[in-house]
């Protein structure tokens, strides 16, 4: 256990020793802050006056915060491949994986350590994004339940992106190819959702298979255990496949 934790810690340290993590965090923060301000401005000037006196009017949390997290999920389609590409592909490329595979740590420990490192990085990203909705609490009352559901949803979404990206990174030696393939795969899952929602030919199977169907439920404040189980199964599948893929590398050379 301590080996896994230590690998995760060093992964995180290596992340923040290189400029990549800082620039990605800055980029995400900048774009989402802009989206957040636009949404907030629109709400204050256009929507709020319309809602006065209505029964069950959608509030700030529904209109601004849910939109922010949806945007964050979309933006991460492009950001996560860059995060996960280096997990294994870069190690193959620099021939540094030997360092971990010569040590007494087992392949399972290496994969779990690296995945835990990714989860910590995602947590930092989620925390930075969530500071913006938290800041609204100074001026108004928020629907905390809904906010936390959205945060959990985004976290699970990103964790599933990370698991898929880590697997794809483990089957190629080129970081760029890992990034492109992961991006393609994540977009494919998004397209599944769109085709599941399409008018006329919609199929609930497609919507079910895609990430986003489950993410949207969280944004609406619905905490459904099916959605949770979907993400957990997705993550476990890809983590197991990564372990198999690394083990195969040792056998095949």
């Amino acid at each position: 256990m301590s080996t896994i934790a230590f690998i995760a810690r060093m992964e995180l340290k290596r992340w923040f020793n290189s400029p990549l993590a800082w620039s990605l965090l800055a980029l995400v923060q900048f774009i989402l802050a802009w989206v957040f301000l636009l949404g907030l401005n629109e709400y204050l000037t256009q929507i709020q006056p319309l809602m006065v006196g209505r029964e069950n009017a959608p509030g700030l949390t529904d209109l601004v915060i849910s939109a922010l997290y949806l945007w964050a999920g979309l933006l991460m389609l492009a950001i996560m491949p860059i995060v996960t590409m280096r997990v294994f592909a870069e190690e193959y490329n620099n021939q540094t994986l030997t360092f971990l595979s010569t040590s007494p740590a087992s392949i399972t420990q290496i994969v779990l350590g690296k995945y835990l490192g990714l989860l910590l990085l995602i947590m930092i990203m989620l925390f930075m994004i969530s500071l913006m909705p938290f800041s609204l609490a100074f001026g108004t009352s928020l629907d905390w339940g809904k906010l936390f559901a959205a945060m959990l949803g985004l976290y699970l979404l990103l964790a599933s992106f990370a698991a898929a990206g880590m697997f794809i990174s483990s089957i190629t030696k080129q970081p760029i190819i890992a990034a492109v393939a992961t991006f393609g795969f994540l977009i494919f899952l998004a397209v599944l959702y769109i085709s599941g929602q399409a008018k006329g030919s919609s199929s609930s199977l497609f919507a079910y298979l895609s990430h986003f169907g489950h993410f949207v439920a969280f944004l609406e404040g619905l905490f459904n255990s099916t959605d949770l189980v979907y993400y957990l199964l997705f993550i476990i599948t890809f983590v197991l496949m990564t372990i198999r893929s690394l083990d195969n590398k040792r056998l095949q050379g």
């Binding site: 080996t3 230590f6 030997t98 087992s106």
Partner: protein, 275 residues
């Protein structure tokens, strides 16, 4: 005959006396590495064929061969980075394939290209290596200080590895391989990229390490084998062509032997090309 009786005994009583006798033998002679009938195929291409190695504590073994003879493949298998197609490897009596975690505690490996993270400092890298060996914080610090001092890295400890020269990276790689004082140290072409003074230093270090540990090093420099090794193992196209101690006589004829053993085939290949 003994094997048949031993098997029968094993079946009846449930005690495996072959392995018991084997482990007793190992303790007496302090055999640190036994590799038996090791083969490795890449699809149909055979990189290493039927290699047998046995190494005792206090020996330095040189693995010699032309380019592509299978030296690195052998070392990758011995270090647990590549699974052999057939054969078994035992380090200190622990099977590397059955109990990799235990066996790898006894093992230090410097690959052809030192496996170091460019975005860590020397200290961070070495501490990382020590902690992966499941040393406590205190033990890790001591081990790192010892390895750093042995490889003359004390003044460089806070430099980023990405900014180091090839020679210094090589030294960090060696420090990483020896810091948990493993029984078996595997060095893949350790002197490549070092300046002559460092080469001398490193050879001295290998000799010192060879007194208390077992060292395997691969090289294609004959003089290096003469300078540091007790035993030599010559590979050619994955086959063992020579294996034996280096005594006074062998040192003289090593060069001749090497060219006799590896040379003729190379000449044949040249003729084929010419025709």
């Amino acid at each position: 005959m003994f094997v048949i009786i031993a098997r029968a005994w094993h079946d009846w009583v449930g005690v495996d006396i072959t392995s018991w006798k084997f482990s007793l033998m190992m303790q007496q002679q302090q055999v640190t590495l036994v590799a038996t009938q090791l083969s490795r195929f890449y699809h149909k291409y055979c990189a290493v064929n039927n290699l047998n190695l046995c190494l005792e504590r206090g020996q330095v073994l040189g693995l010699l061969g032309a380019n592509g003879a299978g030296k690195s493949t052998t070392l990758q298998m011995l270090s647990g980075n590549l699974a052999p197609t057939t054969g078994s490897i035992q380090i200190n009596g622990i099977d590397l394939l059955d109990q990799p975690r235990l066996a790898k505690h006894q093992l230090g490996y410097l690959p052809e290209q030192p496996a170091l993270y460019k975005d860590l400092t020397i200290n961070e890298q070495l501490i990382y290596a020590a902690r992966l060996q499941e040393l406590t914080k205190q033990e890790a610090n001591e081990a790192v200080a010892y390895a750093r001092q042995r490889c003359h890295l004390d003044e460089m400890q806070d430099r980023l590895i990405g900014n180091l020269s090839k020679g210094f990276r090589q030294r960090v790689g060696i420090a990483q391989a020896i810091l948990h004082s493993p029984t078996l140290i595997i060095l893949d072409e350790p002197t490549v990229g070092l300046d002559p003074i460092q080469v001398n230093d490193l050879r001295k270090l290998i000799r010192e390490l060879g007194e208390s540990h077992s060292v395997i090093l691969s090289t294609h420099i004959l003089s290096e084998v003469k300078a540091v090794c007790d035993r030599v193992h010559i590979l050619d196209c994955g086959e063992t062509v020579f294996s034996g101690d280096i005594s006074g006589e062998t040192v003289q004829s090593l060069e001749k032997q090497f060219f006799d053993l590896v040379g003729p085939e190379a000449q044949l290949a040249d003729q084929d090309v010419a025709v």
